[in-house]
Amino acid sequence: MQARFKAGIRRMIPWALPVLLLVLWQLFSWNGVISDRILPAPSDVFTAAIELTSTGELTDHISISLGRATLGFLIGGLLGFFLGIMNGIFRFSDLLLDTSIQMLRNIPHLALIPLVILWFGIDETSKIFLVALGVLFPVYINTYHGIKNVEGDLIEMGKAYGLRGSKLFFSVIFPGALSSILVGIRFSLGVMWLTLIVAETISAHSGIGYMAMNAREFMQMDVIVLSILIYALFGKFSDMVAKYMEEKWLKWKT
């Protein structure tokens, strides 16, 4: 009984801060400390959410974005993963590619947009390209780091026991790097949503990023705040996914 109570509390603590913030914000809005012209009250944001949901607009935006996000995530994540593995394992590809990737990583999407339009036009391809590009790097860096940090002794052992190629990889290198790779995935699950706000400035008619940027342009503070909250919830969700994967695949860490 008491254990269950404790577990319940433990599940609630993480929400304490966000909820406290919301409550304070609502209170300040009610008594006018925060002018609703500048920052709408949570209740107004909630109303906006209801309204947008009832017209089906919000779910449209989210599902469209979700499609772009997942596709981009898959492409970029896999690419980053493979590059990370290659450069982590093979000295030559590391020498050849790492510098280029580190340079590429540092180019802001906003600056890249003209070129992206040039290469991929203004339709879905360019949006998915940007998400993929954004997702690639955290996965790459953490995979690379994970692989490089697998204990050399264990790899040596694996080789001495006749493992090579994919066997060595799946028995020793990958599990050893997994914890770090998951950090990369956790990070990129966030980036996946983040890049959409830039990607969806390219001739988009829907999507959560489009909604946010549109709201900004048209000064709809309630929608801006709503989209910020949605992003935050996505963040939490991504995190839960990452934690779930960690619990599932890193059981051996007690």
Partner: protein, 252 residues
């Protein structure tokens, strides 16, 4: 090379190895015949593990040569399985999968049998981190033995075991060696263990082989036999060399 001469399984010729300017092995000459059981003894840090790692192809040497069946060893020695001094179980694989590492075919049954041999069948589904020191060592031993390799390299395989378990494991090693005719090199700090198991005991000192003693006793060997005790004492006295006072303390 003469055609009729028996080709040694492992042939070390003037092998020299140094780490950053400290010479560890300095001109090691050793021929190990097919199916021979060699034990290596020597003081801590004398280069026993290094020698084993060289034969396994895990380390580069500076001079000399290593031949396996008359072929110069280049890179990994694929015929050999080495049991490392520090165990090296994969923490993310359960005991059974650790033992089955690198096995082909129906590895599961083979691995279970090997675990049974070292008395840990009941722990096969545990993570290595849940094992005691001696249990880990036995899992590592099982993993090395299960391969029945052509060359078996054991680096202090029984260092963490109590007298009884140790004896059982010695019997196990001897039994597998006899059955499979595996060329075996055992590094141990226990001279009695060396004498009990090996056809030849080799002592390394100052980077050189200073003693190579054939043990021509019948198996299974009785540790209580006088010849056995004499040989053990002879080797021990060679390790301890001029310092008589210490010698007396060790040799009963």
């Amino acid at each position: 090379m003469k055609k009729d001469a028996r080709v040694p399984h492992i042939h070390l010729n003037q092998l020299k190895k140094s780490f950053d300017h400290t010479v560890v092995l300095d001109g090691i000459n050793l021929k190990v015949n097919q199916g021979e059981f060699i034990a290596i003894v020597g003081k801590s840090g004398c280069g026993k593990s290094t020698l084993l790692r060289l034969i396994a192809g895990l380390e580069h040497y500076n001079e000399g040569s290593i031949s396996i069946k008359d072929k110069e060893l280049a890179g990994l020695n694929t015929q050999a399985r080495i049991m490392f001094q520090d165990g090296r179980l994969l923490p993310w694989k359960r005991v059974l999968e650790n033992v089955g590492l690198g096995l082909k075919g129906d590895w599961r049954q083979t691995a279970i049998a090997a675990l049974r041999d070292v008395g840990l069948e009941g722990r096969m589904h545990d993570w290595p981190s849940k094992l005691s020191g001696g249990q880990k060592q036995r899992v590592a031993l099982a993993r090395a033995l299960v391969h029945k390799p052509e060359i078996l390299l054991l680096d202090e395989p029984l260092g963490a075991l109590d007298a009884l378990t140790r004896l059982e494991m010695q019997e196990l090693i001897e039994c597998i060696w006899e059955k499979e005719k595996i060329t075996t090199i055992l590094v141990t700090h226990d001279v009695e263990e060396a004498v009990a198991l090996a056809d030849r005991v080799i002592l390394i000192e100052d980077g050189k082989i200073v003693l190579s003693k054939n043990i021509n006793l019948s198996r299974p060997r009785q540790k209580t036999q006088q010849v056995f005790v004499n040989i053990s004492e002879e080797i021990l006295s060679r390790i301890v060399d001029p310092n008589e006072q210490n010698l007396r303390l060790i040799i009963k």
